[in-house]
């Protein structure tokens, strides 16, 4: 069978990891701010968030690029993971809030004097982490089970995912579900005993995000190369054939949908202590649509694509929202149009194309591309010749 990973790739992954996990944090921690090579706390924080976005983008691509399920509500799972982490962080504020009460400020504001029952276990970090996995996973399971069992496909599936995230967004805006309402959770102070406002804590969160991205990348690399991964891609290309090859396609879709939900939830949990806030805006439909654009720009159906796309689009956004604050939606839409019209395989596809072109000029054409072009161009006759040459049962008259 084909190899999962090539030597060049191992080297590239190793170098990227070295830079992201070791070099950049060192430049931030050990160089004086006056140095030209110093990396600011702001940048560290920004890149930590980009890495969380990149993980979210991978989860979108697992569904869209690999299984053909266009989920327009992936930020819902991201936000739910974030909310679960947020509940833990709110409990860690203790009595240091504005009202100096042992319960979160917004509850005091709503007239509560004691902690609601469902808030109690969130003082425990392991419990909160368990919920970070369980809540998005359970929601994805229930929604996926109903949708896939009823054979909801294509655009109908997409619309439902979007409706679900919109409904959840409206729900979380309400004060009476005791999840902070409009303002959500903010003013975090401590996480595992460390002050989240300190650069060192933010640096640790940045490293955790980078490492988590690496784990998700390698895990998905492995997953997509397994037979299960092949079945997922087969569902994308021909679901009927998959059914008539004896696979219960609904189960395979459910598996990947739950997995993507859990991955997005974990990314959200890492994201929240870095931005210092979680509110229902995070579930807004446009966020999920933006994540789709990241994947499209980077290159769908690859694992590098979503990472490149998430970082590129967000870096562009950071610049554009500062330079031209009113025009960001136009930039975003324009970028999407450009990619759809001219770069169907995204930036990764463009890079691959350039490499092939370069090899072509060097007189060393890419053998795979050539073979494909040949196969596409030739009629059946040479294949028949090949068939007889290999002693096939198909006789030539």
């Amino acid at each position: 069978m084909q190899k999962t990973i090539s030597k060049g790739e191992v080297l590239a992954i190793f170098l990227c990891t070295l830079v992201a996990v070791v070099l950049i944090p060192c430049l931030n921690a050990f160089l004086p701010e006056s140095s030209a090579f110093h990396i600011s706390n702001f940048s560290i924080n920004l890149w930590g968030r980009y890495f969380c976005y990149a993980v979210l983008a991978i989860s979108v691509d697992l569904l869209w690029g690999y299984t053909g399920l266009l989920s327009l509500g992936q930020c819902l799972y991201f936000a739910l993971g974030g909310y679960m982490m947020g509940m833990y962080l709110m409990r860690m504020i203790g009595s240091l809030g504005q009202y100096h009460m042992p319960i979160p400020d917004f509850l005091v504001f709503l007239g509560w004097t004691r902690l609601p029952v469902f808030w109690k276990p969130f003082s425990s970090f392991p419990f909160a982490m368990m919920m970070v996995v369980l809540l998005p996973g359970a929601l994805a399971f229930v929604f996926g089970f109903l949708a896939f069992r009823s054979r909801i496909r294509g655009v109908y599936f997409s619309i439902l995912t979007q409706a679900l995230t919109y409904a959840a967004c409206l729900l979380f805006f309400r004060n009476n579900i005791l999840m902070g309402g409009n303002n959500g959770f903010t003013d975090f102070k401590f996480m595992l005993g460390y002050d989240t406002r300190l650069p060192s804590t933010q640096r640790a969160l940045y490293i955790a995000s980078a490492v988590f991205l690496l784990i998700v990348y390698l895990g998905c690399k492995w997953l997509t190369a397994t037979k299960l991964g092949k079945v997922e891609r087969a569902i994308r290309d021909s679901e009927n054939r998959v059914l008539f090859s004896g696979y219960a396609a609904a189960n395979f879709k459910l598996f990947i949908f739950v997995l993507a939900g859990v991955i997005a939830g974990l990314a959200g949990a890492l994201y929240v202590p870095q931005v210092g806030i979680i509110n229902p805006g995070e579930m807004a439909t446009q966020n999920s649509l933006e994540a789709i654009v990241w994947v499209a720009v980077g290159g769908r159906g690859t694992l590098v694509g979503p990472i490149v796309g998430a970082i590129f689009v967000n870096a562009f956004k950071s610049w554009a929202t500062e330079a031209y604050p009113d025009y960001w939606p136009i930039f975003l839409g324009g970028m999407f149009l450009l990619v759809v019209l001219f770069l169907p395989d995204g930036l990764v596809g463009l890079a691959r194309h350039c490499v092939n072109l370069f090899k072509g000029f060097g007189g060393k054409p890419d053998p795979a591309a050539e073979a494909n072009a040949e196969a596409a161009a030739e009629p059946a006759a040479p294949a028949a010749a090949a068939a007889t040459a290999t002693g096939a049962h198909l006789p030539v008259e």
């Binding site: 069978m1 997953l223 397994t226 037979k227 299960l228 092949k230 079945v231 891609r233 087969a234 994308r236 290309d237 021909s238 009927n240 054939r241 998959v242 059914l243 008539f244 090859s245 004896g246 696979y247 219960a248 396609a249 189960n251 395979f252 598996f255 073979a371 494909n372 196969a375 596409a376 030739e378 009629p379 059946a380 006759a381 294949a383 028949a384 090949a386 068939a387 007889t388 040459a389 290999t390 002693g391 096939a392 049962h393 198909l394 006789p395 030539v396 008259e397």
Partner: protein, 252 residues
């Protein structure tokens, strides 16, 4: 009545929005037989295959499979597949982004569950079996080519190969010669004939030259009902068949 029936359909009816696609259909087929089903457009040929494979369910009637007489109506598509019924679609339906080898690998008997496929490995026996099928369908040279890059006829053969890989007892082949050159059509016929005895095969076809090449027994469907059965010559000389194919306009 010597060989056991592999497929029995009795009193099957199926109505779509008032249109009787299948009307009191009775169909019997022996184990190891190659049967050709012909009929004008809208005669219910493809609906018949949909009913066998569980894609649609009949309003009334029974469809039984094998000497054990397993009731197919209560089964879902993948359960019917697991009983040993394979289907080739009218338009070639292969996994375009996978290689020819992977297409066969996914069709090969073996793990089908979510977690079983997660840790599945390709055994040497499986590899050998895939190579053997590649020889049979004449695509050995294309093992590592993407299925999407194959010519139309090659895709058709690959799909037949996928049915062989699943080791189906009953192959349902919907218009295998559609869009093929004469040479490719002839080869497809040879391929199907070479499978007779090892598998039971139902072929749906329009091309009468092709039907003549492969057919032992022909069933003519008309308005969802079996009009007549017999050899190619018997069927072609049957008054009723001539009428439904040629003389419909005369009658009205």
């Amino acid at each position: 009545m010597s060989a056991p029936h592999i497929l029995t359909a009795e009193g099957v009816n199926k109505t779509f929005d008032g249109f009787k696609a299948i009307n009191d259909l009775n169909f019997h087929m022996d184990e190891g037989e190659l049967r050709t089903v012909i009929g004008p457009n809208g005669a219910g040929k493809t609906t018949f295959l949909d009913l066998i494979t569980g894609r649609t369910k009949p309003d009334v009637g029974a469809i039984r499979f094998g000497s054990e007489g397993v009731d197919l109506i209560r089964k879902s598509e993948y359960e019917i597949y697991r009983l040993g019924i394979g289907r080739k679609f009218q338009t070639p339906t292969v996994y375009t982004d996978h290689t020819v080898f992977e297409n066969l690998l996914l069709s090969l008997e073996g793990s089908r569950g979510v977690f079983a496929t997660l840790f599945a490995r390709v055994s040497p026996a499986q590899r050998a079996r895939i190579r053997e099928i590649l020889q049979t369908i004449g695509l050995s040279a294309k093992e590592d080519a993407k299925a999407g890059s194959l010519a139309h006829g090659q895709k058709q053969w690959l799909e037949i190969g996928m049915l062989l890989a699943q080791n189906a007892r009953l192959l349902l082949v919907d218009e295998p010669a559609a869009g093929m050159t004469d040479e490719e059509t002839a080869k497809t016929g040879e391929l199907l004939l070479s499978l007779v005895g090892k598998h039971s095969i139902i072929v749906i076809e329009h091309d009468m030259v092709f039907v003549r090449q492969i057919a032992t027994k022909v069933t003519v469907l008309h308005q969802g009902h079996v009009l007549c059965e017999g050899t190619v010559d018997q069927v072609q000389n049957d008054e009723r068949v001539i009428e439904v194919y040629l003389g419909r306009s005369k009658k009205h």
